[in-house]
Symmetry: C2
Subunit: 252 residues, 2 copies
Amino acid sequence: MRRQPTFGAGGDRGESIVAVSGLSKLKTLERKSTSDRISEELRQMIIEGQLRPGEQLAETRIAELLDVSRAPVREALQQLVQQKLLVSARNRGVSVAPFTASDIWEIYDARCAIESHAASRIIDGGPGVRARATDALQAARDRLRSALKQGDHRKISAADLDFHTTLVASAGNSRLDDAYSILSAQALACINRLEIAMPSGDELIDEHGLLIDALAAGEREVLLTAINDHLTVAASHLTAPPSSNGGPSRPR
Amino acid sequence: MRRQPTFGAGGDRGESIVAVSGLSKLKTLERKSTSDRISEELRQMIIEGQLRPGEQLAETRIAELLDVSRAPVREALQQLVQQKLLVSARNRGVSVAPFTASDIWEIYDARCAIESHAASRIIDGGPGVRARATDALQAARDRLRSALKQGDHRKISAADLDFHTTLVASAGNSRLDDAYSILSAQALACINRLEIAMPSGDELIDEHGLLIDALAAGEREVLLTAINDHLTVAASHLTAPPSSNGGPSRPR
DNA sequence: ATGCTGCCGACTGTCGACAATCGTCAGAGT
DNA sequence: ACTCTGACGATTGTCGACAGTCGGCAGCAT
């Protein structure tokens, strides 16, 4: 029925040439569509809190600013709407999504769903998977530690989420990764929007270390409880920000 | 918050006209964009297995078939790509996503993550939430039962997924709903693609009844185990279809 | 002063057209 | 016979333009 193209398993043609000469350093040069680049740019701005909730993003204006036509801009905006970072009002354009307290609880509850399951599956996966996950998480914790040293709020929260993303990725289920990336973007947007003072670095490191230890030891119940607590605490700090005075408020 | 129309209290001249005439029955007439309608149409076709995996969906062709321009078609296709029902190859258009065995395992594993968490949260929610969920699930089971009577494969699988969607929805977390809707669409596409004979109706009903009972009784561990088994069995039947002979194969 | 009606500007939704990119295939060269 | 090169056809990525829709405001009637 279907004609197999019979092309020799693409890419093996010039490989040897590339291999001997130093050409292998050629990185697959930026092959992204305009809309993807716009989408990533805007996504980053939203995540970092540079755009205020409710702010209008008119296609025309963005297109003019970037000196492109409206088509790719429109495409980029639509992507972000599907990621729930923008909200769309019919015939009235898109605006930056505002997050209410209940949104934050939803986000963290959903994160809990995915992280818990991922953790559970990693433990099920046996010692090999567990070891690999532990290594990756320790590396992520190191990145978090160095971000803490720099003291940049945004880098810290990004590194924090990166730790959790690493946990989910270690389960090896791309569907979970996709779902989690949407949630982590929303969570980051929430965190960076209300400029909460980060907790003492040690506390953050220790708490993540707890997760690593529980995972390494294969203590399922301990791990699941730790994840749940970790996220619950984080969400409650985000939703109860009025105490902007002393209490070491801590996002996650 | 919401403006009550203030009709009543003697104002019987002007407002009463609206009140007495049947205008209140005017339902907010179909206000969907072209791209949304196209998207839903295609989504349904993919879910029902009318489009073969790998089949090319050229923008031009679809636009001509529907007698619209390429813009809304393109938008619709992009939506479906984000839902993982279509795959996009750069400059070569989109085609219907094929699902491998590992995809199926991923989908069912991810479903397990969300359903389990939803079930857990429903139990946490107390007797009120639990009762409402039980009612909704019983209604969903009834719908499944009537679909079984009709014997239409697609209606049965749709009703089956509807049951699980109801379970997730009962947790009251829209983020979980969104994530689950993507997974359920993929699962349905998998099921309807390989035309597997449905299991005996009684078996299907009983198994879902088990879930309802465990939920109503608040037996968390039983419920979680049941969900896990339920999905594991379903996935294994989908990924081991070669026995198209006798064994009552059963998708889910 | 209050409420309704019709215009106005701004923006999106949609359209047709052009240009860039990719896979294919014939053909030259070895 | 095999490999590489170049052109071809098809399809997407992008563009500028037009029409439809929405919120806001002025103007009129009450």
